[in-house]
């Protein structure tokens, strides 16, 4: 056989026998294409939960609520009173609260300027902007609709009066993205790096020397965990310092609240990396899988944009990833001034998932070491 053809045949065979190569050259671009299509190619806009307090309680206000519900943009939750609705807003159960004040219908029928009150969660600036725009547009159209229906003249459109500083200050994308970027190391310094550190030993055979020494396998694992924690801490510190100096964001740097969240998020990342490295049949497969999972998960954890941007099924994926809770908790601290006391729920969630994932990782790691 001609040497050129021989080399070509050999390379083609090797290509199709190397699963990692096939994945990175074929499957990964396809995956990214599908993912981006899902995120940015949606036919309908995002949906958001909003709360409505109908203090007017008239047919017109009921019609407004019904029409708003009919848009399909909002999942509407009705509240009996305003304080209940604002509590839900503060707990991020809803993204905005619309209050239809008493006398709304009366003002409309008397041709007096009518208004609705709007309180928006400003910690998601893009979501807040979208909600604000949609609600303004809706009430403008609703006003026109009422005019056509009653054939009356309404000189003043319905005005939207925003209630200030209900949930944090109005922030920009730089404030929004910084906590997200501080979560990036949880995936790539903790998860991907810990996978890499473990599979390297396997790939290079250096695990043999370690196993021939008296050191217990768990000590090796703990050493690697510590290294990954330090790597993550350093990376987060660099991102935070650079972010603070370059972006000059108006965020709350509550170290006592941020530290446990970042530590637990990192432990979750390390545990995931450990699982992947033990499940992977070969070092290359484990390393590739970890990198891919890291790349994919960064879009599902609310790091770069709110989860609400995603279709519901992708939001569901995001909700099973521990880093999503870490990202949300970081934003709660940095943008909403939530203190450590207010973080009990995410801390419990992150602790539980870290313990479960790390425990399973230890079991798999021990089996894997014995098998090696």
């Amino acid at each position: 056989m001609n040497p050129v053809i021989g080399v070509a045949v050999k390379d083609i065979k090797m290509f199709f026998r190397e699963k990692g190569t096939i994945f990175w050259t074929i499957a990964f671009p396809v995956l990214v294409m599908l993912l981006f299509s899902a995120i940015f190619g949606r036919e309908t806009p995002f949906t958001a939960n909003i709360g409505i307090v109908d203090a007017d309680g008239t047919d017109i206000s009921a019609m407004a609520i019904s029409s708003l519900n009919g848009t399909g943009v909002f999942n509407i939750r009705l509240f009996e009173n305003k304080s209940e609705a604002l509590n839900a807003l503060n707990a991020t159960e809803v993204r905005a609260v619309i209050t239809i004040p008493d006398g709304f219908m009366e003002n409309l029928t008397r041709q007096v300027p009518a208004q609705v009150l709007l309180a928006v969660d400003e910690t998601n600036p893009d979501v807040a902007r979208l909600i604000r725009d949609i609600i303004k547009t809706f009430f403008t159209e609703f006003c026109k609709g009422i005019y056509e229906w009653s054939n009356a003249t309404f000189p003043e459109p319905i005005s939207i009066v925003e209630e200030q500083k209900i949930v944090g200050e109005r922030i920009g994308y730089k404030e929004y993205i910084l906590p997200g970027m501080m979560c990036y190391p949880l995936l790539f310094s903790s998860m991907v790096a810990s996978t890499g550190a473990i599979v390297y030993e396997r790939e290079k055979g250096t695990l043999k020397r370690i196993r021939a020494s008296p050191i217990h396998p768990l000590k090796v694992l703990f050493g690697k965990t510590l290294a990954a924690l330090l790597q993550t801490a350093i990376t987060i510190l660099i991102i935070a310092v650079l972010g603070a100096f370059v972006l000059n964001p108006k965020v709350n740097w509550d170290i006592t609240a941020l530290t446990p969240i970042l530590f637990l998020g990192s432990m979750n990342g390390i545990a995931l990396g450990l699982l992947i490295s033990c499940i992977g049949r070969s070092p290359q497969e484990a390393s590739g899988a970890s990198t891919t999972i890291g790349i994919v998960l960064q879009w599902f954890t609310g790091m770069y944009f709110p989860l609400e941007y995603l279709p519901e099924y992708l939001q569901q994926i995001g909700r099973i990833v521990p880093m999503t809770y870490a990202a949300q908790a970081l934003r709660d601290v940095m943008l909403r001034n939530i203190t450590l006391k207010g973080l009990i729920q995410p801390i419990i969630t992150l602790t539980a998932s870290a313990i479960v994932l790390y425990a399973v990782g230890i079991i798999l790691y021990r089996k894997w070491v014995e098998k090696e």
Binding site: K208, R209, A212, I215
Partner: protein, 329 residues
Amino acid sequence: MIVEKSFETNLRADEPLADEVIIEINGLVKHYGEVKALDKVSLNVRKGEIFGLLGPNGAGKTTLIEILCGLRSFDKGEVTILGLDLAKNSQKIRSLIGFCPQETLLYDLLNVYENLSFAASLYSMPSKKFKERLEVTSKVLGIEEFIKKKAKELSGGMKRRANLAASIIHDPPIVILDEPTTGFDPNVKREFWETIRTLKHNEKTVLLSTHDMYEADALCDRVAIMDKGQIVAIDKPHVLKEKFGGKSSICIRVKEDQTEKALKLLKPYGYTFREEEIQIFTENPWKLMPEISNTLLGNNVLTEKIEVLEPTLEDVFIRLTGRRLLEES
């Protein structure tokens, strides 16, 4: 030259073995599924000797070594190392062994010093002791010149020495080497043999596996010949050759037109003639060679070659297994 002086190689024929048994193996059995990798292996390694496991690939050498180093479990038998039962004291025993596998287990991005430091940390070695051991090990193995070089920048021979240094940095009484010179060119191989001899000089007991009969012959005080998971013979190399290697011989080649005349002259000695060479088997080849040489020269037969062929461990292996060692390798 990596060491300042070379040392006595094998034990002499009459030199006694040390009394103290360092490694004692009795009836060791290991299966990989249906395949019996070790079949009732029994042997003793004595203090201060270089003990060789000689056999082709698949003979069970690496399996045996990995069991001794605690890297593999075994199915049956008893292994005692420095008086400790391997089955019960695996972790303790690992600290007494310096294992140097066939492959170079260095971290490419670390320099030699950092690699040794990591190896020392596996044995919880204090930094002061590490510095002391580093000094000794560097001198013994001649790694000072490249101690600050990254592993990926080292030559093959340097890597092997650094690898060995990492294996003995904790000053173990036993050093186990798995195929230590595989892939070396002859010069590097001989250089590494000297390195191994320095270990013996430094009062280490060395157990090594090899499929190189010359290595086993040149380096080992005693050799266990392994085949298909069994020990087929154990003794000093020259004893094995005496027992199983057959007689020595004198091999003669003369000018082609004088072959017939030479064969007539050498008939009284008894010979075999094959591939233009006359071979005379004898118990005392060195005594007989001058006589044969004089006989041929006295009758104007010019020799192109006359040499003594002594039995090798290859001959021993053939005699014991019916197969060639190198072919199997």
